[in-house]
């Protein structure tokens, strides 16, 4: 069957079955579920950290001024030689003996050969411990946060919302690309036993940067 005819056939069948002339937006949908959370900012951050730890991710708290040192320390303790960073991040952390590859269309093998990746994020959702990447210049192409086995993600407290609907409210435009990460790669396909690290990064470390001065003058 030719493509135009197939398309017409399916649409005709659907129209005949639904008899709907008007194409309404989802106007009739009652949205009475919780949209905004009720926790104070400090508790939201705490919840985000708790959820991430439940997934087996490591969470490190930092102030904005400490961030370079915390990042360097994380990279040091990973113990690798080569790390990939997206083009929007300048890897000027105080660390020596480590090579940073800036991803300007790096081939897959080269990314695969790296010991880890450092990215920022678009948002964090505390209720589910989710990190949202929209793959901007500081978050990187999808492939760089996928192939290396260790992902260090820098998340700012001002980016963290309590509920999923709050994240959607923060999106001015729907993203063309997005990845929602809730803990490291996992499977429960064998006897429902949760195993970490199937194909995605086995280690997810999150630096939670308090850029709202929530915990006083630490």
């Amino acid at each position: 069957m030719n493509p135009v005819a197939s398309r017409q056939l399916i649409l005709d069948r659907i129209r005949a079955a639904t008899q709907s002339a008007q194409a309404g937006p989802s106007a009739g949908v009652l949205r009475e579920y919780i949209r905004c959370g009720s926790l104070d900012r400090e508790s939201v951050l705490q919840l985000m950290a708790d959820r991430l730890r439940e997934y087996g991710a490591e969470v490190i708290l930092s102030t904005p001024s400490n961030l370079p040192f915390v990042t360097a320390e994380q990279i040091r303790s990973r113990g690798g030689r080569t790390f990939v960073v997206p083009p929007g991040i300048v890897p000027d952390w105080p660390i020596t003996g480590v090579r940073f590859k800036v991803d300007r269309d790096l081939p897959h093998d080269e990314i695969e050969g790296c010991d880890g990746v450092i990215t920022e994020a678009f948002a964090g959702i505390a209720d589910s411990g989710t990190i949202v990447l929209h793959h901007s210049g500081t978050e990187g192409r999808r492939v760089i946060s996928l192939l290396p086995d260790w992902h260090l993600c820098i998340l700012r407290s001002s980016q963290v919302v309590e509920t999923l609907p709050e994240y959607f409210a923060r999106c001015p435009q729907p993203p063309a690309l997005a990845t929602y990460i809730s803990g490291p790669s996992a499977t429960a396909d064998i006897e429902m036993t949760r195993i970490k690290g199937v194909h995605g990064p086995r280690f997810l470390n999150v630096v939670l940067v308090d850029d709202e001065s929530l915990s006083g003058n630490q």
Binding site: P3, D109, L146, L177, A178, I181, D189, I190, G200
Partner: protein, 480 residues
Amino acid sequence: MSHTVLDPRVAPPFPEAALPVLRNAQLRKNVAHATDVIQAKRAALVAEKADWQELRAAAAAIRANVLENLSAYLEEFESRCTAAGGVLHWAPDAAEARSMIIDILRDERATEVIKIKTMTSAEIELNPALQAVGVSAIETDLAELILQLGDDEPSHIVVPALHVNRSQVREIFARRMGLSDLSDDPQALTAAARSYLRKKFLAVPTAISGANFLIAETGAVSIVESEGNGRMCLTLPRTLITLAGIEKVIPRFQDLEVMLQVLARSATGERMNPYTSLWSGVTPGDGPQRFHVVLLDNGRSSILTRRTERQTLRCIRCGACQNTCPVYRQTGGHAYGSVYAGPIGAILTPQLMQMHHAQSLPYASSLCGACYEVCPVKINIPEVLIELRAQVVDQERRESRRWFDPMFLGMKVANFAFASSLRFRLAQWLGRVGLRVFTRKDGWIHRLPNLGARWTVTRDLRGLPDQTFRQWWAGRKEGR
């Protein structure tokens, strides 16, 4: 493992297919364990959600709205996806979908293709068709890999290998990957799958996926997964083909705030699954540069016609109804003879077959309603089951061979007997006398011949009392 047939056109009727499973203690144990674990996790996470019923109501309304305006949303999806660089194909049936995919693969000169778990591809029996034209399909989801290497079929929509236990997985992997000293520790088995597939992800330039959601507003596709095999297939290859049922569309990006919340909790008992991917068409420099969407009808549009049955297509494939179903929990998925097993399969499969096959499935239920209670999009499965049973009976009514069906004749006789009180009392008397032969001293009937054996093969029957209620009542009045 004997090879199971999951083609509703040739599968044996449900009661027949269920019998061997009911005698397989290992399989029943595997199924019970897996469904117990998911159910407990789901229940705990649903309980912590104060607005669960509001989320369900919104999810049901979003999906119902989609189905009412399906053609408009599909056209909107088509124009946005095309504008973003995707190529759309409309497949009226399974054969068309297969040949469209094969044509694309031929253009790509593909000999291998990596696949993300997609039940829709199992529905159209894609893998054997690919094999026939010399393309080997590599399943990358752990459960699908277990099934593919074990020459087995899926038995659950979300956890397709839940009927296989760790020692069986060890045996399959050791044999097919040539790893003789592999242990049966799930960690080791998972690691074996990781290294087995890693090379494929980096080398194979073509991937096939299903879809969880198509977003009309943006032309984006979304896939939820746990392992990262999905992200690999969506990111590394040069070409991506997404096969999706026409009902998978949702109106707006923002509708995901409802759908993602109910899906993860219902499917795997997680607040959110580890990875959710969203992409619109082609993004220069990031991911596949050629992107095809094959929209599959294959009987779906005919389900839209009637209001009661239409709700079947709200399904977002979470599998919660399977985990909670007292029938599925005993028989597992293969007895349903379809990739869609359990309560949703019992209503979806015969309808996709336009009621020409799988007519035994609407009866594979006790109508207890547990499926309706857990369904995140509020599909009233018992209501649809009853409607489909009525259709099956109507079909049988038209068949002349019904006169040879003992059940039909029994109903006819009952109809005749129940129509007059004299005949009814006579039938009662005959029944009492007749059954007395089979009633044991303990007052129970353990075994009946012929048609009656259908009852007594699995349970005992209480013997008829010496007098009827009417007789007892009459005697009581006289005694006063």
